[in-house]
């Protein structure tokens, strides 16, 4: 092992617990709390200062977001006068105005985004897990070479391929369809997830698939019946990150979706900025909040997987 980054904990608790020095920390902490009175008072003051700093820093981090939420409920002329978070009245008109400010109601763009997101998630789940199974469990000619290439593609800037990809997709007539945004995912181009899943499958005991093989199962069956059900945490991580990235994706949508009928949420928001004068910040903020809501909800419910995914492979 060349880094201290641990792999995702395998479903088998024995493997997951081994080699984790984290456990050493608990007794040390307990001993500290049993110290003398003077010591614990000093420790408490220190903790209090820490909490103070963290709350201040955290508040500063979150303040702009809270301010946007509050501003989206404020009358337009107040937004530019109120740096505070208190509200004297609730102005829901920003939401109703913003919802219908563009050619289509905002729900139309949310639906477009949802189609792209669902397509991308399915694509990534299917194609990445298949590739990961091959890399983690099968021996084949060129395995090391392909694996190396796969790792390299993680670091490849997409600008090198975007021009020819655009030419390719425009020649098949896919501009202003969702295909250019979904098809690459069906072809496992998000190599991050292949790597994440390879790491996860490596943590699943091999005895399980060997037992299945002795029972006469072939690779498709081992993959579908043994490996896939055990790698649900990795699949969940993939789902959540794909959701957030695709929902936020601006560049791809900007290039491929030029017809307002096909706009996803980010391009619709950008069109909103362009079409409205600076006087409608309220409704612009309202729709920005609406656009952030799905990501926020996914964050709320998927935190565990998000944190694990990040700590393991460094995906954002």
């Amino acid at each position: 092992m060349t880094t201290k980054l641990e792999t995702l904990p395998a479903p088998d608790k024995k493997t997951a617990g081994a080699g984790k020095p984290t456990n050493h920390r608990k007794p040390a902490k307990r001993r500290e709390s049993r110290g003398t009175l003077a010591f614990s008072r000093a420790a408490r003051t220190k903790a209090l200062i820490k909490h103070g700093i963290l709350i201040l820093a955290g508040g500063l981090m979150i303040y702009p977001l809270l301010w946007m939420v509050v501003s989206s409920l404020r009358a337009n002329e107040l937004i530019f006068r109120e740096p505070g978070l208190w509200l004297n009245s609730l102005e829901m008109s920003n939401y109703t105005d913003g919802w219908s400010a563009l050619t289509h109601p905002f729900g139309h763009y949310m639906l477009n985004s949802a189609i792209v997101v669902i397509g991308s998630i399915l694509g990534n789940l299917i194609s990445c897990s298949m590739a990961a199974y091959a890399f983690a469990r099968l021996q084949f000619t060129g395995k090391k070479l392909f694996f190396g290439i796969m790792l390299l593609t993680i670091m490849l800037p997409f600008h090198v391929v975007i021009v020819p990809q655009y030419i390719l997709f425009s020649q098949i007539g896919w501009v202003n369809t969702f295909w250019p945004l979904i098809v690459p995912k069906l072809l496992a181009t998000d190599a991050f997830f292949v790597f994440l899943m390879v790491q996860f499958i490596r943590g699943i005991p091999k005895d399980l698939d060997e037992a299945a093989r002795i029972d006469g199962a072939g690779h498709p069956r081992i993959f579908l019946r043994v490996i896939l059900p055990l790698m649900v945490p990795a699949l969940a991580t993939t789902t959540i990150f794909t959701f957030i990235w695709t929902w936020n994706d601006f560049f791809g949508a900007l290039i491929y979706l030029t017809d307002p009928d096909m706009f996803t949420v980010p391009v619709a928001l950008r069109a909103f900025v362009d079409s409205q004068s600076a006087t409608s910040w309220g409704s612009l903020f309202a729709m920005s909040i609406v656009s952030l809501l799905p990501v926020f909800l996914v964050f709320l419910f998927g935190q565990r997987f998000l944190i694990k995914g990040i700590a393991t492979t460094g995906i954002k």
């Binding site: 092992m1 060349t2 740096p83 021996q139 084949f140």
Partner: protein
């Protein structure tokens, strides 16, 4: 293990195959390629094919309407003389070399504060992490544009102290700074990687240091930093590669034109304008390859320099 360290150990594992492995080799080839099929098709059609195509296009003049016309090194010579491109390089370098160290510094600092058995860790972690999930969105870029606007949140706050703030976004000397700040604001992701790394440092090292009378600062320099260096390296490589490709924030904050007076004209924004604004696809391809070379060089420098400062415990 991370993708980056995996890549550097890939070569080391070479060795003669055992007989059993050779046997397994033959048995699984067909199945493996079937499982790899989507990825292989993607590699050829979506990655390697387009890469070769873009290399070819970089030597041509191509506007999508007429067939590409071979112009040799013309595009690269044009790049040499293109003052806007040089400016966009400067903007991007400033963004990367100010933004990345700042962001990683803050990430490490907060991770250190959070690490030592503090109550409410999950809560703080969420608060600090949330911005990095939202930071890439158009909505947050719009928010940023307002916050640093002439009558925006920052200036409203300053006005309470009687200070008249500048128009941060409309002033060429501060516009880039506000985007750098947006980048620093999203320090949550590297912070979580640091936290995971700090967890892996055995507590006994610190206990031994305490017995020897080492101060907190000495412990940080002699234990924490060396033990964490692989993770700092990992974050550094990832963030540099990612930051060179930043686009959305600059696009939205500047209204798509890299203004004021090109002060937020990122390299990728200029590439977008050349390729998808003016349909100068040959030039855009040449720019893309130049970007790839820059990123490649910086990643290589990172890996070479790593030998001198990254400490491996094996």
């Amino acid at each position: 293990m991370s993708a980056i360290s995996e890549l550097s150990t890939l070569k080391r594992r070479k060795g003669p195959m055992t007989a059993a492995e050779k046997k397994a080799n033959g048995r699984d080839n067909k199945a493996a390629y079937i499982f790899l099929l989507p990825w292989l098709v993607g590699l050829v059609a979506i990655t390697v094919g387009p890469m070769l195509m873009s290399l070819y296009l970089s030597f041509t003049d191509y506007n999508l309407l007429q067939p590409p016309e071979w112009v040799g090194l013309d595009n690269f010579i044009r790049m040499f003389a293109d003052a806007r491109l040089h400016n966009s390089l400067g903007v991007t370098f400033t963004y990367v070399f100010v933004g990345v160290p700042l962001q990683l510094g803050v990430a490490l600092l907060i991770a250190l504060v959070l690490d030592k058995g503090l109550r409410g860790l999950p809560f703080y972690r969420s608060v600090f992490y949330l911005p990095s999930l939202l930071g890439g969105s158009v909505a947050v870029a719009i928010l940023w544009k307002q916050i640093f606007g002439t009558t925006g949140l920052v200036n409203q706050a300053l006005a309470m102290f009687g200070i008249q703030g500048p128009g941060w976004i409309s002033d060429p000397s501060t516009a880039l700074g506000s985007i750098v700040l947006l980048h620093v604001w999203t320090f949550g992701a590297p912070m979580i990687i640091f936290l995971a790394g700090l967890r892996q440092i055995p507590v006994m090292y610190y206990e031994a240091a305490k017995v020897d009378g080492a101060s907190t600062l000495q412990q940080f320099w002699r234990i924490t930093l060396p033990m964490l260096s692989p993770i700092i390296f990992f974050n550094l490589v990832l963030q540099i590669i990612g930051s060179f490709q930043s686009f959305t924030q600059a696009f939205i904050v500047s209204g798509g034109n890299g203004g004021p007076s090109d002060s937020t004209m990122f390299f990728t924004l200029y590439l977008y304008q050349k390729g998808f604004g003016q349909f100068d696809m040959g030039y855009a391809s040449a720019m893309a390859w130049f970007l790839l070379v820059i990123i490649g060089v910086f990643t290589a420098i990172n890996f070479i320099a790593a030998k001198y400062w990254v400490f491996y415990d094996d």
